[in-house]
């Protein structure tokens, strides 16, 4: 009883604290100074049509590096917690019902399309909405469909680990290339900028996003496999 009253008091207190945000903040009329500067300088600085991509990869590139590191730490944690030895599935494998025929047929047709779609999303991240994280999630969805359709299949660990490590190293290497050839770490002007709207534009941004997309896809596939219970 006491606990319920305390919980209610905590929620009401939080609600009162958020009242000024809801009632007085209102809707802005124009973006602030920093946002206006980003919007106006992004085509000149980086020739990237998608301003959010330019911010995520170059203006706030350190945040993205930290995010990739956090995702890696979470994947390592999930992988370390849920190996078969630790959860003591004693010897006999649980019965795996095979997937239905509809699922199997649809997976065969969709896997190639999904991987291609994911690669398209992260390659065009600087031109259309999208980018590395969305493309990586779509690739992980393709792996998930295969895990669901044939439950006895395993994810190829060597390939996943190699893809993840090499993409992470490529990301940092592209950042260091910015130190050598341009103004600083993670500066995409290390590679030639090109014209706004072309595929080969925006310097190193497509390459950085491709590396991030592959890394995120490999990590999320690892998380899904660990949760399914098949990680050695």
């Amino acid at each position: 009883m006491m606990r319920k009253i305390l919980v209610l008091l905590a929620v009401i207190g939080f609600g009162v604290a958020m009242l000024p945000l809801v009632l007085e903040a209102g809707v802005a009329e124009a973006p602030g100074e920093l946002a206006t500067a980003y919007l106006e300088q992004s085509p000149r600085d980086f020739a990237a049509a998608n301003v959010v991509t330019a911010i995520v990869v170059s203006y706030r590139g350190f945040d993205t590096l930290g995010e990739v590191a956090v995702l890696f730490a979470a994947t390592a944690g999930v992988g370390a917690l849920l190996t078969k030895k630790r959860t003591e599935t004693a010897g006999a494998e649980p019965e795996r019902k095979p997937g239905t025929e509809i699922l199997g047929t649809a997976t065969g047709l969709l896997t190639g399309l999904l991987v291609m779609f994911g690669v398209y999303i992260f390659m065009h991240g600087h031109l259309t909405p999208g980018g590395g994280f969305q493309g990586g999630v779509v690739i992980a969805t393709a792996v998930l469909l295969n895990l669901l359709a044939s439950p006895r299949s395993r994810v190829a660990h060597g390939v996943m680990t190699a893809v993840e490590s090499l993409s992470g190293a490529a990301y940092v290497a592209l950042g260091l290339l910015g130190v050598v050839l341009a103004a600083g770490f993670l500066d995409p002007r290390a590679l030639p900028l090109g014209t706004l709207g072309a595929l080969a534009s925006a310097g190193a941004i497509p390459l950085i996003y491709s590396a991030i997309g592959l890394k995120v896809g490999a990590e999320l596939s690892g998380i899904l496999e660990a949760l399914k219970g098949d990680r050695e």
Binding site: G26, V27, A28, I55, D63, E67, T75, L82, F133
Partner: protein, 126 residues
């Protein structure tokens, strides 16, 4: 016309986000099942993302992508604020990572012989 004027003043995204935060917070504090706590945490996190993004909402403007609809010259007059969008992009991905880690802890506690309610782990209280 007080109601319409009031609705015109508040930020609709911030309002729904704030209510979702409160709903999720109550769920985290009050439900005893481990997995329901994780579900409420996910709802809480969606609410927080809505609140952060509501800062950048400007009525009547389009997405911050330079194309034929809004080119470089008129960018600052026709686009919404791109900085909160970049922050929320990061927050959503990290939310997934944290939820996956939380659920793997819950699965590990269950397969190690524990119960499904958080009350049954009482002997770890200090």
């Amino acid at each position: 016309m007080n109601v319409l004027e009031f609705l015109g003043r508040i930020n609709p995204v911030a309002a729904s986000g704030a209510v979702l935060v409160l709903v999720g917070l109550w769920g985290v504090l009050a439900r005893p099942n481990l997995f329901k706590i994780a579900v409420a945490f996910s709802v809480l996190e969606t609410g927080v993302n809505l609140v952060i993004l509501s800062v950048g909402y400007i009525r009547g403007r389009t997405a911050p992508i330079l194309d034929s609809a809004a080119d470089a010259a008129t960018a600052a007059q026709r686009m919404t604020d791109p900085v909160p969008q970049a922050l929320v992009l990061t927050a959503i991905v990290i939310g997934l990572a944290v939820t996956a880690l939380m659920l793997s802890y819950a699965v590990r506690m269950r397969t190690g012989g524990g119960g499904s309610s958080i009350e049954s782990y009482g002997d770890e209280k200090w």
